[in-house]
């Protein structure tokens, strides 16, 4: 009971603190969804401690959502430059394949495997960056190439086999817990802090926004737009590699066909729902994480309510389109015009 009260008070406080920030809207949507679950989905907020770790739907949201959150961090920066990366799901498959191949078939150490998998992610990101920045191919098209070929490459690495592994350190990565919470939460937070420091602690974030806002203008201010673009794709590749490690660790094997399937779409949606416009410019790193949590909470809610996994895309699509419509300047304009004839509402003030 007390925990319940503290949770909602905390959430309300979070909303109040962020009332004039762009992250308010996705946070509000997340809060409403949680509130809906609080009263209609039995057991959604139940937490129990077994063997020193927490179990419950909320923990599932964090653990399952960690992959999308990791992808969303990289994707935010890519979208901020006015691009998009469709290949992150395929890169996850490649990284997982490299990981499994190195530990499962070549029998090298776990460290080597992790480094190799992350390097594969970096390399894949560099390839995308080369196409977008070096050859100046439109991002959708450039990353489409790896999206189409990536799973084939992953199959090539594992020779079409599903390779299992048992190494405790690798299993811990996606299934272990730290301080009672999933280790993936620590991983996501560490990556978030690293990314935030990278883009807000240095001028890099400003450069990214400048390139996304107006590439020509940023060129005239002496910025190497192509170098900035190259870097964001490499970073997205790295994040995808990390997400690929978590995905492989979750199932203790590399599945080139299904690892990260459709996650590029979830990541893009998380970023857009989080308040970063697809046209580039301003970006909301924290918003993207909230967006990822929102999408994952939605999925978990549907599963908790016994909606078949196959039908789950329908409510997901409706929420996505609704959030996009809410962010549409045209609709906002119409509402604002309407609002002049109506008494002021709380929603209109924020």
């Amino acid at each position: 009971m007390w925990i319940d009260l503290v949770f909602w008070a905390g959430f309300a406080g979070l909303l109040w603190v962020n009332r004039s920030r762009p992250v308010f809207w996705p946070l509000l949507a997340l809060g409403l969804l949680l509130l809906f679950n609080r009263f209609t989905t039995p057991g959604f907020f139940d937490l129990e401690i077994r063997d020193g770790r927490l179990y419950g739907s909320l923990v599932d949201v964090i653990n399952q959502g960690s992959k999308v959150m990791l992808l969303a961090l990289g994707m935010t920066l890519v979208i901020a430059t006015g691009g998009v990366d469709l290949s992150v799901g395929a890169i996850m498959a490649i990284a997982g394949a490299v990981l499994a191949q190195v530990v499962g078939v070549a029998h090298l150490s776990v460290t080597v495997a992790i480094v190799a998998a992350l390097a594969a992610g970096l390399l894949a990101g560099a390839w995308n960056g080369l196409l977008v920045a070096g050859l100046r191919i439109q991002p959708i098209v450039a990353t489409l190439i790896l999206m189409v070929a990536g799973r084939g490459i992953a199959q090539l690495i594992t020779d079409g086999q599903i390779i299992n592994f048992e190494q405790p350190a690798l299993v811990f990565l996606g299934n272990g817990s730290l301080f009672g919470l999933p280790f993936t939460l620590t991983l996501v937070l560490a990556m978030f802090i690293f990314t935030a420091l990278l883009v807000r602690g240095t001028a890099l974030g400003l450069f990214i926004e400048a390139v996304g806002d107006n590439e020509t203008a940023s060129h005239f201010t002496g910025l190497s737009a192509q170098r900035v673009k190259f870097l964001v794709y490499v970073f997205a590749g790295f994040c995808a590699g990390l997400a690929g490690l978590v995905a492989a660790s979750n199932i203790k094997s590399a599945d080139a066909n299904h690892a990260g399937l459709y996650l590029e779409l979830d990541a893009i949606l998380a970023v857009v729902v989080g308040g970063t416009a697809l046209t580039g410019g301003r970006f909301q790193l924290a918003g993207s994480l909230v967006g990822a949590l929102l999408i994952q909470t939605l999925s978990t809610t549907l599963y908790a309510r016994n909606v078949s996994a196959d039908i789950a895309p329908v409510p997901k699509a409706i929420v996505i389109l609704a959030v996009c419509l809410l962010q549409s300047p045209v609709l906002r304009g119409k509402i604002a015009r309407l609002g002049r004839f109506l008494p002021k509402t709380k929603g209109g003030a924020a």
């Binding site: 959708i140 799973r151 893009i268 949606l269 895309p313 329908v314 699509a317 549409s328």
Partner: protein, 322 residues
């Protein structure tokens, strides 16, 4: 000496035809029976649903947009038809309902894109999720179509006999008919000109008095209808409907359009080129089946590689023009 000059529009087309010929002739030289008429006919028949859907997506790309919902709409239509026939509706009525549904679905996405100025990428992504899920709402698994119309009429009566044993399946006839119709629509109709004008530059098109909103909504409506038609053709081919099928079909369709010479930034494209692109994908698949030892994932790598080469070619051409 008169020098042969190719305009930037025709270079990718010539290149893709050359690739198709090289792959096909190479296959004929490497494998017995590859050059047989049966393989050639199957190339059209087996890829008909992809071809029809790819032509719809070509129109969207011509207008400067993108449609990611294609594969899901094809799957949804196939299961919708199977479900409606299962409930006792006549196949022709079921097909009519599905085509109308596809068109309405496309129109809805087009309206969201045009009226609320949402990015096509995002709206059609939502459309993809929606159509994929709705397919499972109609029927959660594969449903075979058991109706004399499908069994005898479409697969027997409507196919064109070539020799005593060999006939051209109706799906291939559908594909050729759609290609001819779409080519005429793109080349010689006011709608086709408007679409390309918008794809080249929406601002200029607006100043020229092109009805932007109507044309763009119509483009997505057409793509939705053609995706639905792809689903109809798929039911002819499979004699069943399956909500889980055709995952990633949109990627193949986009790849076919690009390989066939449609510029992804819009404005430049050629409908028969998309057919060539579809045939190239089909030949690659057939080659890998004939080869026997290569895994099917080599198809994905080959398509990705080809996509890269053609995109590079597009890039070189557009840069030279500047």
């Amino acid at each position: 000496m008169k020098k042969l000059r190719l305009s930037p529009q025709t270079i990718p087309m010539v290149a893709s035809v050359a690739v198709l010929i090289v792959l096909y002739v190479g296959g004929c030289l490497a494998f017995d029976n590859f050059g047989s008429l049966r393989v050639l006919i199957n190339l059209f028949g087996d890829n008909a649903f992809l071809g029809v859907a790819a032509i719809g997506i070509t129109f969207v790309i011509l207008s400067g947009g993108i449609d990611l919902s294609v594969g899901a709409v094809v799957a949804l239509t196939s299961i919708l038809i199977a479900g409606l026939i299962g409930h006792g509706l006549h196949p022709l009525a079921a097909i009519a309902v599905s085509l109308a549904f596809g068109a309405a679905f496309g129109a809805l996405m087009g309206t969201l894109i045009q009226v609320f100025e949402l990015p096509p990428f995002l709206v059609t992504l939502g459309g993809m999720f929606l159509a994929r899920g709705l397919g499972f709402v109609v029927h959660p698994e594969s449903l075979s179509i058991d109706h004399p119309f499908y069994g005898d009429f479409v697969s027997q009566t409507l196919s064109l006999p070539v020799t005593r044993k060999l006939s051209i399946p109706f799906t291939a006839v559908c594909l050729v008919a759609v290609v001819i119709g779409a080519t005429m629509l793109a080349r010689w109709s006011r709608f086709g000109r408007n679409v390309r004008a918008i794809g080249s530059s929406e601002a200029s098109a607006r100043l020229m008095g092109v009805p932007i909103a109507r044309t763009k909504i119509l483009v997505y409506t057409l793509a939705g209808a053609l995706s639905a038609l792809g689903g109809v053709v798929a039911t002819f081919y499979m004699q069943s409907g399956n909500p889980a099928s055709f995952v990633g079909l949109e990627l193949d369709a986009i790849a076919a359009a690009v390989i066939g010479g449609t510029l992804l930034r819009g404005g430049v494209g050629f409908i028969p080129g998309t057919l060539v692109g579809v045939l190239i994908l089909g030949v690659i698949q057939t080659l890998i089946i004939f080869q026997g030892t290569l895994n099917s994932w080599w198809t994905r790598i080959a398509v990705g590689g080809l996509l890269f080469v053609f995109i590079l070619l597009q890039q070189l051409i557009t840069r030279r023009k500047k």
